[in-house]
Amino acid sequence: MRRLHPLAGISQALGHGVQGLGVPIFAYAMLSFALDIPISVVFVAAPIGGLLGAGYGAASYLRFEYELSEDALVVASGVLARREREIPYGRIQNVDVRRRVLLRLIGAAAVSIETAGGGSTEASFDFVHRDEAERIQTTVRKRRRAAQDEAAASETEEQGAGESPSVSAPGNASEARSEALFALTPVELAVYALATFRPAAVPLALIAASVAPGAVSDFVGSLAPAGVPTSLAELTVEQALVGTVFYGPLTAVGAYAVSAAFGAVSYYGFMLVREGDDLRYERGLLQRYSGAIPLSKVQTLTVTEPVVMRVLGYAGLAVETAGYTPTDGGDGVGSGAPSAVPAAKAATTLALARRIEPFGGLDTTVERPPKRARRRYVVRYALLAAGIVAAAYAAAWALGGGPWYVAFLAFVPVLPAAHLKWANLGYRAGEDHLVLREGFWRRQTHVVPYERLQTVNRERSVFQRRLGLATLVADTASSATLVSSAPSAIDIDDERAADLYDTCRERLQQRLGAR
């Protein structure tokens, strides 16, 4: 049995010691109002509490032991109530290694073990020596692989092309060989940070804007003839206009800057390594994140091209897996799918996608939906613009006048927007997988292998039926679809959708039968 890093013991002892010290002081502060207790009691009780706390901390360090046994990870813990937990290697989905700034200084890392069941961490080692973290990660991976091989061997069925990813050497894949696949260059990091907007940055920017409104409103006031308004009722139309014209963009720029900085910090030094049947990534400036993507559980590859990246000829790649996926550092971008390539030249990204994707040839060319689908978006956006005009009219009426007809400008982008939405939709039924594309601002191309389909759905709304259109939804077990909707071929010709519906079902059977 092994223990955590010795410094972890000291840190636990210190942490609990401070707590123990605090309890008598806190109790005195609370009780001294009601009872007449001499202060000297605290000077005796606090050190005793501190010692007890430190002792408890040290004991919990000494009583926390773990072992990488032959078939399971064994963790024994608890000072008074003991708990012994065995986690079979086969069940472990992922070993996360995190190195915060302080931990990196002392060459240590926090390790957490995740399994498919439930959302919580199965076991966490806070913290161990860096080499030990590596050892846990590689050992778990090796033994998990061995466990899976054994399970596969016990089945009479031999593994076919579908199950063993093209990247793994079948048979002796248990020996994890490590190969660097991708390292993010500073230019690519800059592109990623600037091209990907994190919605989480908006509240941050709003808070910043509301904390320092003085300078801004002074600035606005100096521009408006009537001076700074003291209440909403005194707000003149000019002021409101100037306010929106300057204050809005200022907040937007601020949000964008926060978002870019956040992206740069969390993806600094991104590296992707292949180890046996896993992809392992590492990233982060202040806190290093490291996680594994099990290739055998890959459901969908998603090529993401935000509009800025498209202009620059860049693309990103995310790998969606079933079951547990490592959290994406809270930046809200990955939506459940860890990045394999945050950003790189499109050709590089696709080449890498082809190398790591375990489902045969990959081609992301698509066919657009029929032109009549575009009419739907024209109507949709025109209704939106009409809504804006109505809102502006209502506002002008409530404020007692104003140039509400300016809102008619909202109709200007209707046609281009409808065209762009349509132009960025697409689908293709490839030999091995379905390719589905969607989105203008953040274009995503999903590559769904037929053998990963769970259910096939063909949906037709009233409006779609009028135009002879349908939407085909390809549902997989990807955990990313729990967050966003399942990849779909939107507004395609109804008959093509019916064909595709049948094709998907046939190919699924063929691919699984071919195993």
């Binding site: 069925e157 199950e163 559980k297 459901q299 079933a322 079951g323 990963r452 389909l453 769970q454 259910t455 096939v456 759905n457 063909r458 949906e459 037709r460 709304s461 009233v462 779609q464 039926r465 939804v473 549902d475 997989t476 077990a477 990807s478 679809t481 729990l482 399942a486 008959e495 019916a498 519906y501 049948d502 998907c504 079902r505 046939e506 699924l508 059977q509 063929q510 699984l512 039968g513």
Partner: protein
């Protein structure tokens, strides 16, 4: 081994809605279940609207009007919903067709079935119906339910789906 013959002709299932071959319909008593649910919802909303109307000193007729309006829209909706609902146990998959405003065809391949449930709500028990719920690992798993089955038929479908799921070589489900 898969029980499905791959070189066998593709199941002759016409998905075009214009000449859709009528697949298994639900038991017509499901209309009663849906109708009673609709009525309950309409009455509750009507009661809430009546209380609000009295509080705001508007004519309490608003509540009655709301209930009537919901029923006027809801009853034809329920009837169309029943007419559109169909399911079929095909060679490779359980196929469901349903939907009023948006029609949805769903194919659930047997290889993907994780487990099958038979469920009965109090209202369904009252009219003597069951529902079969099919779970997959997909994100839309909870969607796949066949309501409005007589208990014997539900049991039969349940058993059949279970058998088909087992026969079609369950692997890790993803």
């Amino acid at each position: 081994m898969l029980s499905i013959q791959h070189d066998a002709p593709v199941p002759n299932f016409e998905v075009d809605s214009h000449e859709r071959t009528r697949v298994n319909a639900l038991n017509s008593r499901i209309r009663l279940v849906w109708g009673l649910r609709l009525l309950a919802g309409a009455l509750i909303l009507g009661a809430v609207a009546t209380v609000a109307a009295i509080a705001l000193d508007v004519t309490p007729f608003v509540g009655v009007a709301l209930t009537v309006a919901i029923l006027v829209v809801g009853v034809p909706y329920t009837l169309v919903r029943y007419r559109r609902w169909g399911y079929e146990v095909q060679d490779d998959a359980l196929v469901l067709e349903r939907g009023v405003l948006t029609t949805v065809d769903t194919a659930v391949p047997y290889v993907r079935v994780q487990h099958v449930d038979t469920q009965r709500s109090p209202l369904e028990r009252l009219v003597g119906l069951s529902r079969v719920v099919v779970y997959t690992a997909g994100s839309r798993g909870a969607d796949v339910a066949v309501p409005g089955l007589e208990p014997e038929r539900a049991d039969e479908l349940h058993a059949r789906l279970r058998r088909l799921a087992v026969e079609s070589e369950p692997e890790d489900g993803v």
